[in-house]
Amino acid sequence: MEENENLTAERSLEIIRESIEQSRRAMSKHAGTPMIWWGSMVVVFSLLIAYLWNHHGGPAWNVLWFVMTIVGFIGNRLLDKHKKPVPKNIIGSVISKVWLTFAIFVCGIGLIFCLAGFGVISLEWIAPSYGIPLTSIITFVMGMASTLTGFILKNRFVPICSIIAGIGGFFLAQCYLGGEQLLVMAAVAVIGLVIPGIILNIQTRE
């Protein structure tokens, strides 16, 4: 594009429309990669923790979720480094805040359960016998965050997958006890994160 000052009104509008559309496409390119990455991490750790929970010592292995968080962040940073830099924009900022909120809530709840697991606080205080299983709550919140991401990106498939995963996971996790709950978590991660992430990347591929 060179300097041309003999523009018609139509050509000017076309330049504005093309530039904004091109920029929007460039920014949403690879938007699904973090979803695929985090979804895969949840699947791997869910299956690993479920196996260890059932065969090697019970729910104490849930502490591995904190390891997943650290590995996930490091991997995410590495993925970002290899990605073409895109400008800071309001859409990216809002999506980051949605997932930051999710992380704060889940890590906060996880930490409180961890303290109860180590006997620092009483388990009866935080999880009475009639309570909803933690996996149900996490899958529900994960589904909500993923749905919001889809709505913000104006993608129709992501909210559909995420709503199915979030609501389905919420009820299914209540049907299973112990390590089996984590199989539900793995399924929710596939339907609510990995598949939407793949769809997003395919749709934004040039």
């Binding site: 594009m1 060179e2 300097e3 041309n4 000052e5 523009l7 009104a9 139509e10 050509r11 000017s12 509008l13 330049i15 504005i16 093309e18 530039s19 904004i20 091109q22 920029s23 929007r24 460039a26 920014m27 830099p85 895109v86 400008p87 800071k88 924009n89 309001i90 900022s93």
Partner: protein, 96 residues
């Protein structure tokens, strides 16, 4: 009645730069160059013109050891862009 078009924005490359910057918080020089397909030299000249008019803010910084030029639209630039689009509308309405 035709509204006057801002001569600074009534240029293919400068208009494209402003249209890119209007949808982002800030953008680096290589991104703008790639999106507009302009040469580095020409783009620098046009960015300087926009910067001198107060339409964009240009920050020269470092990313690690590499120099990095970051551009962002200013409130004056946003107002000028809105005015330009309004003026374009008047042209299109009259030509209908």
């Amino acid at each position: 009645m035709f509204q006057p078009l801002d001569p600074l924005l009534h240029s293919e490359l400068r208009l494209a730069v402003m249209s890119l910057l209007v949808s982002v918080e800030e953008a680096e020089f290589p991104y703008i160059k790639e999106q507009t397909g302009a040469t580095a030299g020409n783009l620098s000249v046009q960015l300087d013109k926009l910067s001198e008019a107060g339409y964009i803010a240009v920050e020269k910084t470092y990313k690690g050891k590499r120099p990095c030029t970051i551009c962002r639209i200013t409130p004056a630039g946003l107002k000028a862009f809105e005015g330009y689009v309004d003026a374009l509308k008047s042209y299109l309405e009259i030509s209908k």
